[in-house]
Every structure is written in C-alpha cells, then in structure tokens.
C-alpha cells in the first residue's frame, strides 16, 4: 500500500497548526508545520517530492499567503493547495479569482467543521 502524501500546514497561529495537525493525523496523514511563510517555503524546498497537500493561511506576517500559493503552484504543481483563512470569505473576490485561475484548489473559512476538511481533501485528492 502506497503511503499517503504528506501534508504541509502553514499558519502563524501555533494553536491552529496544532488543531489541523491533529485532525489530519487522525485521518491518517503525516504532517509538517510552519508558522511563517519563510519557514514554509524552506520546508517545501526540502520535502516537495513527498508533499501532496498544503494547508495555507493567507495572513502571514512575512509573506502574503496568496503570493506563497502562486509561487508554490508555479514551482511544485503537484502540490494541492487549500487556503484556510479567517480574513477572507468563500465569496471574497480574491478567493473566487484564485479558485477560477487555479491559484489554489480549495478554500476553507475559519472557524471550520472537520467535515469541511475531509470533503476538501476528498475533492482534491480522491482516495486512492
């Protein structure tokens, strides 16, 4: 049985990383976390062949999350990106545009239901 792709979580809130980490872990995923854009990019650079999914916050203290997403898409197109934000809504223009231009693959607003995470994963990476 092939190993499930690893998930990278980038959110400046340590507790948010903790929550996502636990949810995904209990779903059977291996996770890595970063609390800044710089740290996240470094992890991607090192681990990209093994990373299949990226949970990404938009408001990061050092890098704009949307810029992070477009950079990741460009260089590591195999990584599916789910934006997770307390700032934007699903119908915010930036989110709509991002989804339409495949800048990222899913959007989840904070606070979220665990079921939303599950269905987002299901949509972008149908179970093998």
């Amino acid at each position: 049985m092939s190993e499930k792709p690893r998930v990278l979580i980038v959110d400046d809130e340590v507790d948010m990383c903790w929550a996502l980490e636990n949810i995904l872990m209990l779903e059977g995923y291996k996770t890595h976390t970063a609390t800044s854009g710089k740290e996240g990019l470094e992890l991607i650079r090192q681990l990209h062949p093994n990373i299949g999914m990226l949970f990404l916050d938009v408001k990061l203290p050092d890098i704009d999350g949307l810029k992070f997403a477009s950079f990741a898409k460009q260089h590591y197109p195999q990584i599916k990106i789910i934006i997770i934000s307390g700032y934007y809504y699903r119908d915010s223009e930036a989110v709509q545009q991002g989804l339409a231009n495949s800048l990222f693959d899913g959007f989840i607003g904070k606070p979220f239901n665990i079921s939303e995470i599950r269905s987002a994963i299901e949509t972008i990476a149908p179970s093998q």
Binding site: E13, D15, M16, W18, A19, L20, N22, I23, L26, K59, L60, P61, D62, S85, G86, Y87, G109, K110, P111, F112, N113, I114
Partner: protein, 494 residues
Amino acid sequence: MKSTDFDNMSLSERKYERLCTMIFSCIPSSLLMFDRNLRVVIANKNFLEKSRRTEYETIGKHVDDIFPSVILQYTRLSERIRTVFETGVGDRGREMYYRSPGLPTRVYYYNLTPLVDNQGVVESVMLIMDDITQQVSLREKVRQTERHLAGVVESANDIVTSLDPKGMILTWNNAAERISGYIERELLSKPLTSICADTQKATLVSIIEGLSRGKTVKHIELGLKTKTGKIIPISWSFALMRDDAQAVVGIVGVGQDLAERRELEAQLFHSAKLASLGVMAGGIAHEIRNPLGISSAAAQLLLEYPENETLRKECAQKIYSGIKRASQIIEELLKFSRPSEGRFELTNINDAIMETLTLIEKQLVLMRIEIKKNLDQHIPLIKVERNLMKQAFLNMLLNAANAMPDGGTLTLTTATDGKNSVMIGFRDTGCGIPSENVDKIFDPFFTTMPVGKGTGLGLSITYSIIKHHEGAIHVESTVGKGTAFTIKLPIKKE
C-alpha cells in the same frame, strides 16, 4: 463806506478797518453784515464764492433778496435778525441747508452776532455761516457704523460685554442674556466675577488685574454661573479699549458658549471612532475568527475522539485559551467604542499607546510593519480623556499603516521636557505627503485612500482631540521617505 467817514477815521481806526477786511476775506466762513433795514453792508469773499454772487448783486440788497424763499421760510432768518437787533442777544448754533443754483446741497452752521455801538444800541448784525457739509456726512457715517456695530453685537451668538477697567459690567448683549439668564439691567455696574463659577473667581480677578495693566487674554475657559445656578463652560477672550492717550478705559470680553460645541464634538468624536472601527473591521474579524477556529476545531476533535486521553486534555486547554483570547479582543473593542465620559484622568501615555496598539498590532504585523518602541519609562502622568486620547493614537497608527502598504517601520516615541509638556512621536517609512497636501491633511474628509479604505476623518479628529487637550500636532514629511507626526501635550499643574 462813504469817503467822509474814511476821512474822519483816525490812523489806528483805519488800520483796524484794514485788518477786519483782511480777516473777513480770508476766514473759511461765509460772512454777511446787515444794517437795521436788513440790508447787506458787508459780504465776504467766501460767501460770494459759495453763493456764486457778485458783490454788486449782494451789497445793499435786502436779506429776502439774498436767500431763496424756501430757506427764508424754514430758517425764519429775517425774523431772527430783527430779534437780534431788538434784544441785542445773539442767536447761535443753527443748521441751514443751502443749495446754490447748480451745486449740491450744503449744510451750514450759522450764528447771528450783534455789533453794538458806544450807546449800547445794536448797530448791525453779523451772520456767520460755517460749511459743515463734510462733518454732517461724517456724522451720518459714524452713526451708521455705530448702528451696524450695535447690530453685530446684539445679533452675535457669543457673549459680548464691555467692562470698566475694574471689571464692572457696562454692557451685556442679547447672547449674554440668553446664555446667563441675567438681563443687562440686573448686571449693570456689577463685577463680572459675581457671575463666575466660585472656584474660578480668583482666576478671573487676576485676569482683570492683568488686563488693566495691559495684558490681553485669549481663549481662557471659565465657568459661568447662570441665574439658575448652572455652570456653563465659556471660552473668554478679553481685549482692552484705550483712549487716544493709550490709557485703558475699558475691557471688551467675548465669550463663547462651549457646552453646545462640546456636545457636537463628542458626537463627532464618537461617530468617527465607530467609522475607524469600520475601517478595522476586516482585521478585527480575522483576530476573532482565529481563536474561534481553534476552539471550534478542538471541540470537534473532542467530540470525535473522546477516548483519546492526551488529546482530550489538550483540546480542553485550547478551547479555554481560544475563548479567553476572543473575549479579550471583544473587551478591548467595547472599551474603545464606549462613548467618552468627558473625564480627564491622570494617565501614563505609554500605557495608553500600548493599549491602543493591542487593537491593531496583529494587523500591523500582517502588513509587514515593524513597530519600534522608543518609550520614555519615566514619562510624567498627564491628565487626559483616556478614551479620546486612545482614539487619537489609533488614528495615528492607522494613518501610518495606510502610508506603508508594502510594509515598513513605525517608530513610536514618547519623551518629555520634564516640566511643561509630553511629546508623542509617530514616524513611518511610508509614501510621505506631497507638500501641496500638507496643509490639507487635517481637513475633514481629506483622504488619498480609495472609498471604503479610510474615512478621511482620522487626522482631523486627532487634531480636534489634541486641541481639546490644549496640545499641538506637528507634521514633517518627505515624499518617498516617510512622515513624522509629533503630538505635544501640556503637563498641567493643579
């Protein structure tokens, strides 16, 4: 004059006669001398010019042939001259309007003077007319100006009062009556101090003493005790009235009722505060949604995996700390949005800045704005309306953030000169203000931000708040380099 008369004159008499003729011809008054038959004996040059008559048309003529009948009728000139001949008593101080053919009406002030011979009989009567046309028109102008001034004073919205140099009330205008409840009659010759708030009487006394020594006073706030005993804040400006010799003859006081303005200002401050909350709404939502998201996720994990002991404990902790954080943010917001109570309290300015910063610090960090704090730890406490001051600081922080859309450094400085004032500096490394806009930045609704980004009220509200604290705000800016605002607040000694 007949030649025989001349021959009979002595030398001195002749000299005297020449002198008289000279005076007659050169005085700036019109002069006519009548004999008992009311015929003209002498007419001087001035009269002939003004009336456009020749000597030939005048000398020997009856008074009734000299003046137009209209004038003769209303001045009753012939009758008056006759009376002077009979009584020997002059008639003085009357006005005559005279219009020579082809000339505008002129006003004359005339006297009738009897000339008495050695036996006490009136020999002739002299009519002296002074042209007072110019004085009359000036007098009219003065009256008009006086009426205009009185109208201004009476219709003014502010108290206008004049006092004698000792501070006794001489006049008390309509607005003063309306504001104080006292009518002018009740206060005439009473000291202005009698209607001053008890606690400030000494201040007013020393102001009036200073005034009588030539010191003017502007915008001093004193409570006025109305007839019903209410204390109303009045902003007074006093100026001196001096006579031509520069001696102080009185004091003019203009007082503005601050109560109404205060109320309007408070309303404006409050609505602007709510508007600035609107600008911050996105950031605030983010701030609250994060702890909510964490709590919510933890609660769901708890529900789904109740048997996991370690997870259970962690979840409970995260839920608890998330809720605490969210309610702390809401608490700060409520504190901030509460209307100001108008109470000045001793405040550590550093604390006020730090409390304000908690509202948007996260947002600034997300905008990649580095905050440098350069706070004087020994800053003296000053009396401010804490909530208003925090509002002013928030506006300064938002303004700096807006100036640095691509991030930068915001340096917050507090300092003191030790005795008179406290300085608060906000220096950003943003876009700067073009020199043509520097004068406008404190104008209400002046904004360079797109609609919905800024209200355009921030800096003007800050300005009013600082003024309200009798402080000053100063700006220095270089386009492309950044802007430094310095707020100066007075340390007031009680």
